[in-house]
Subunit: 212 residues, 2 copies
Amino acid sequence: MREAFHEELEGIQASLVEMTSLVGSAMARATTALLDADLQLAEQVISADETVDLLRNEIEERAFDVLTRQAPVATDARAIITTMRIVSDLERMGDLALHVAKVARRRYPGRAVPPELHGTVLEMGQVAQRIVAKAGSVIASRDTDLAAELETDDDAMDALHRRLFHVLLERPWPHGMEAAIDITLCGRYYERYADHSVSVARRVIYLVTGEK
Amino acid sequence: MREAFHEELEGIQASLVEMTSLVGSAMARATTALLDADLQLAEQVISADETVDLLRNEIEERAFDVLTRQAPVATDARAIITTMRIVSDLERMGDLALHVAKVARRRYPGRAVPPELHGTVLEMGQVAQRIVAKAGSVIASRDTDLAAELETDDDAMDALHRRLFHVLLERPWPHGMEAAIDITLCGRYYERYADHSVSVARRVIYLVTGEK
């Protein structure tokens, strides 16, 4: 019984890792679509979000099944609850990639990101990749040292987010209000994406150490 | 056993309703702080968010206890899972009120909202009040008709959100970039607040009807 439970839990864990890979790829492609004004790629990200949502439902159903069929002990039940929260963070990260892709689509054939912010947004995309890849590794390995690294990566994202605002504010903005709104919103999407990744890592640590 | 379970579930439900009232009050006060540049009120909202977080933890602990102590049947377990999701939506709504209050604080003694948008933001605050009050009633009553009303209220919020962008975009914006950023972000906070309220209502309906 306990062994079956742990086997099912491992299967669910593998699906969570798969989900980090999907939402990581979504944000990578959304960033390229945003920077290159690539409509086709933006559309791909937008339609691929359904796969993330389906995987979310599938993981939740499986977790729920385990919970009710196997009458787990308290620590096992806590693992299931934590799984539900992680899956909710990951689904939200998929949505944030979708929002970035929608900004790219809305501005097509124009570019949402003016040249002087290209580098900053590119870096935000790179930090997002690094952080979601590490979140996946933390789920797979339960490595608490690696989980701690995500806090530093999140600081890097926050610094990039501040740089974005700095460029918006430092001198007269020549690109119009629509571009300013897009940059403000995209900045927030990347920052929240990183926050949710950190939250995933923290939940895994909580599971391992029992400490919040 | 089943009776004890339902009593505990009712207690948890009452706490969820209390939580809607807390996050409703938080958004009402945050809106006033934003519109009147009331620093003291903004600080109150910011420090009161801790109470929301504590109540969230308490509800989750209780739900979790019920789940593991009482070995519930599948429908009961589903009610607990739904509770966990509702509490997560409500906690997020508290955060969004906090974000609005932080914009008010950041701009003090200035006002984040220029005169021509005062009415729109006031209305967004009012729709937020209406929608969170209804979400509370839906939790208490499980009234599916009332839950359906939230979708209409959410449409009203979306229309106000579009009006905000329209004012930002329709003519040269005389209030500077900082004000434009604040309005863009606050608009998103109100819109997300309404989305989470709708999500709460939908989850209750799912519990009642089994339909998503």
